[in-house]
Symmetry: C2
Subunit: 277 residues, 2 copies
């Protein structure tokens, strides 16, 4: 399929692609939140192992997970993709259709993007835009000593599909003092949250909701970088339900003075994935 | 320089990178406009020929040119980059510093992004966000029969540095009935504008402000895809100055009923660059 055909296909699926920019009116008194993420063939996914639809759904899920982590309502997504000239048409069409299907699933408008070719592996980049009531974005800064540390779901599962915790994030507005999604692994992301909030944390291995049992399960729950569950804090005086928006919520420890991040009393070593956020 | 060092460097230069998303409060009653664009090593630039600073400035310029074309005030930029493991540190640092310098030059906040590695050529993707007073975005739709067709600057120059016509775009708010930037070549982009507005156009070769003289100069002015000057329309009753914001403005023809796009009475063949906008 020539590139022009693909572009026409996207124009039918997307909105506002005819202009140089998408125009969007945020809700009065709300703030916008913006995140970008990318998938690189061979680094973040293997096209032999992952279908194009699954790869596209993963990219959308990762982008929207950041919106969820901030407590935002997701609104718009944009896709930039550079793919090899020889990439089979079925893969390209599958990827674009998968992107469109994921956008529809999460009720966001696919509002634009760019297609290029590359002599190397495919690189796909997403921009996701959401909005939150003014002053209600859930940030990494804000955790206070004495706050309880919570995670959603089970950690360390090898999920091909990313489920952005959008409804959970919305319900945590005004409840969570700080929060983020676990995209680099709990051991790394708890450090990120503590650093940004300038606090320490103590968590207990026995409380961590592991997807698999045993030492291997705990290791994966701590260091697997692709959970996309939410990590958040709330005051100990706040009653946090055991389930929110259908997702289990587990208290795994508390925020402390000082800057130490401890697991069962020992320093928690960050072994997750590090990259620019 | 390890990736962590680069990330710290970006955190110092950027704003709001510590969180999952950047949070931004648009002006009350304004709309936001969003565009994405990308550069692929070997397709859009060659690292032997272009310095990393120039490549980064070009990426920022291209993104902001879309904001200018819509009449927007540019506010935020985001950078996603996937680069080869073996890319020299001096190139990586130069590219990131160049991106930061260009953002400062055009007075936009570098608000986030992502760095990955790839086994192929570098791919750099920009998201640019601006805002316009509600209902004042300059769209491709809106040109009316009888409107005059204008272009800014001179066309067909081989400019390494893109100068987004931001101040010109702002001054065209409420003046231009339709507009866009010339990124694919005048011959292609005039078709785009006419198609979106569902009109025709007649332009005269002798009026086109060519950067070079002779038939070669006209060919480049019509078909060179990297001018980033503005193409816009305004009613014949509107007095459009010969210079706006320091840039020459030239009337090259007019909008017509019907759907034909003509150059000196002959069909104008679109020979510019086609891609997803």
């Amino acid at each position: 399929m020539p590139e022009q055909e693909l572009i026409r296909m996207i124009r039918r699926m997307g909105t506002g692609i005819g202009d140089d920019c998408a125009v969007w009116r945020p809700s009065p008194g709300w703030e916008i939140i913006v995140t970008t993420d990318q998938l690189v063939e061979g680094v973040h996914y293997l096209d032999e192992k992952m279908t194009p639809r699954a790869a596209a759904a993963r990219l959308v899920g990762r982008g929207l997970s950041d919106i969820a982590a901030m407590g935002g309502d997701a609104r718009l997504v944009f896709l930039n993709v550079a793919w090899p000239q020889g990439l089979p048409e079925v893969w390209r069409v599958g990827f674009l259709r998968g992107f469109g299907a994921a956008a529809r699933k999460w009720k966001v408008a696919w509002a634009g993007g760019d297609i290029s070719s590359t002599s190397g592996p495919a690189v796909a980049s997403i921009t996701a835009i959401g909005e939150v009531p003014k002053g209600h974005a859930i940030l990494r800064i804000g955790a206070k000593p004495g706050d309880i540390v919570y995670v959603s779901g089970k950690l360390g599962a090898a999920r091909e599909r990313v489920t952005p915790r959008l409804e959970l994030g919305r319900q945590l507005r005004g409840v969570a003092t700080a929060g983020m999604d676990i995209s680099d692994g709990l051991s790394t992301d708890l450090h990120h949250l503590a650093e940004e909030s300038r606090v320490g944390a103590v968590i207990e291995a026995s409380r961590i909701p592991c997807a698999a049992s045993g030492a291997g399960g705990l290791d994966r729950a701590l260091n697997y970088g692709e959970d996309y569950e939410l990590l958040f804090t709330a005051p100990s005086s706040t009653r946090v339900p055991a389930r929110i928006a259908g997702v289990a919520i587990t208290a795994i420890g508390r925020i402390t003075r000082g800057r130490d991040v401890l697991l069962d009393g020992q320093p928690l070593v960050a072994r997750g994935w590090e990259h620019l956020r």
